[in-house]
Subunit: 408 residues, 2 copies
Amino acid sequence: MSDVGAIGASRATRQRNELAAMRALHRFRRLSRAELARFLGLNRSSSGHIVAGLTQEGLVREVGALAQARGLHAHAGRPGILIELVPEAAVFLGVEIGVEHITTVEIDLASRIVSANAVPFAGASTDVGAAVAQAVGRAFESLSPERLERCEGIGVAAPAQMDRHGRVRVAPLLGWENVQLADLVRAALPVPLPVLVENDANAFAIGASYGRSEPHSGVALFLVMESGVGGGIIVDGSLFRGAHGLAGEIGHLRVQGGDAPERSLEEVLGLECILTDYRSTAPAGEPTFAAFLADVRDRVPGAVAIAERWARALAFGLIQACRMIDADRIVLGGSVAALYPLMAARVLHYIQAMQEASFPLPAIETNDDETIGPAFGAACMLHQRYLSNEESPRLAEPPPLQEPAPPA
Amino acid sequence: MSDVGAIGASRATRQRNELAAMRALHRFRRLSRAELARFLGLNRSSSGHIVAGLTQEGLVREVGALAQARGLHAHAGRPGILIELVPEAAVFLGVEIGVEHITTVEIDLASRIVSANAVPFAGASTDVGAAVAQAVGRAFESLSPERLERCEGIGVAAPAQMDRHGRVRVAPLLGWENVQLADLVRAALPVPLPVLVENDANAFAIGASYGRSEPHSGVALFLVMESGVGGGIIVDGSLFRGAHGLAGEIGHLRVQGGDAPERSLEEVLGLECILTDYRSTAPAGEPTFAAFLADVRDRVPGAVAIAERWARALAFGLIQACRMIDADRIVLGGSVAALYPLMAARVLHYIQAMQEASFPLPAIETNDDETIGPAFGAACMLHQRYLSNEESPRLAEPPPLQEPAPPA
DNA sequence: CATTTATGTTGCTTTATGCAACAAATATAT
DNA sequence: ATATATTTGTTGCATAAAGCAACATAAATG
């Protein structure tokens, strides 16, 4: 049953407040008990109790006797003892099953990357079972027994349409269809663990928006532009999946061609289209994307024309998207995103030309943190779930062992 | 500060659980204490305490000694005493400031319409202050003193872009610009009350989706097609506003014209476009929409051609929208929606023709409940807020009066 | 050095939920 | 009709979490 908003026994209240405290510590890295109390709206003594409990569970600790903000805006008063999450207290795994690679990431309780890894993988020619086995195997390969014991879940990202129950409707790039992916993953685990699966673009969006100290309150659209174009929408810090997990799939928008028949935006914005066009322009040898970028930078007319077309299509897509979801922040990722800085002015020009002035313009950035990707996002999903109230693995723990009451 | 997930003192817990109980009673109309306990995940005795408290506050009552489901699936066991909300316990007002009318609605604690009213109004030629004064005046006009005392808020809907602080950026149809609408409304109130303002399409969407016993879990897109075309998105039962309250504004999508220059979908789908085209086709006298509908029904070629163009544009718009927000339910409202039943097959045909088979199709309905409109939705917004935990007016009440503790 | 200010801790109080037991009211079986 | 089973509503009592107030502590400030 979904959350109906009721609070149960005292212990449930404490559980909830402990998780709220941990979320606050995750967000702000370090807080004194008093700051925590203020942020949570609780009494200082309650905050102290909660920290004591979490400390005993090994989930938080006092950071070396460091004290409060000195220097600028120095306070009078006794400095607080800063508390932080114990990073080693938990492990979350993320895997991306891509078309060409399997990428694995391990993050800790502070949602920081402990290790990351990528290996080549023949996605299109591997059947689901083998792919999952290989991916899960990779994820657990380098996990020491102690960390395995601390593992709180694994997330799997793949270029697939999946519903909220972990069933894959169809994954054209991998040749999957109608697969209970979550169950397959569960079956492949060395130990029972919480499992989440998610579309790769959605996972990317989560990863790219997770853990900022001030979660963007608004609507952010994350695009991943490679051969295909995927997208994910983050609303007030959490993923908007849509009814079937397809929200934000901007790549399938119909693009208006004054000349050609309808095409999907993906066919215009994607790497393949760019390289095909580039090949016909520059017959010399190898039409790599890097060479194309260089040509655009050097203002080679043919390349510039292609880039111009790209910019116009991107502008059109972003406008259509913003009409619907009213995003105020757009983040471009994937290798093709490198083209954006060269064409930013043109894209903005087209955007302004195509819409009335009263419509608020979103901020457009490129994602330059290369460590962030679907695998990281998949791990973050587990991290987020672990720190959330609903269906938290911790809530599913057996009731805390109590010493048998001494006979009175 | 937004909700950080922490729970305060015992009294806050009770408050929260009381509200959860009221939400459950709103959703299911009548529940026994035991059913309520099961639904909330609380103990039966706790449920009893909560019901006792709410009864004393006059918010719920036992419905005449009616008992449990007899007849089909009859139970053994003592029948429960059904509890229901006391409808008269609260009043919520909703007003729509339209271009041609001011509509007012009064609903009760069960979110049922107590009274509704509409008067002609010259929206475009009235300044904001006068419009607000007139609208608020209308809303309170027929409210008896007792019900005024029970009034828990007023919602105002208008065809305007507004942010989440109640500021209107621009409202072309009313000639407003940069107005602090919420403040104006507050100033016009006879007594201080919670105020919410919302875009009319968004308010319509809330009204059309509110109070169903099983809130649609998924994404629903509500369209209002009149002279203009507005839209609102409901996700799992609550409004998705977007970053600036513009989400779902499908009317401003760019439509691909094989022939004409770019147009907004509104210009193609709206009443005006239809009537203009119709006028040029049927030169005889008065080109009303009703006449147009009749002609379409009679298969008059000129009218059918217009309707066909309309169906194609609608299909295009819906597909673009569903690409972005992945809706699984679409509800068409406004007077133009009457055209849909005649063209449903064509619209579906175009939709299927325009997208690949793997994309799940949304269900499309027309809204035929004429009582539902932006004014009702605006009132529902207040109702929803009243029963929600965040910023509930009830939480802002002064602490319950306690008899001074008898000196021990 | 005294003062001010803020932190962390410690008993004690308040209060909401859980539990167990019981009476009440109905369906079902004998 | 009677007995049994089942479910409901109520009532004390136990548990436990948060609030409150007071106090010792530790720094900044004058």
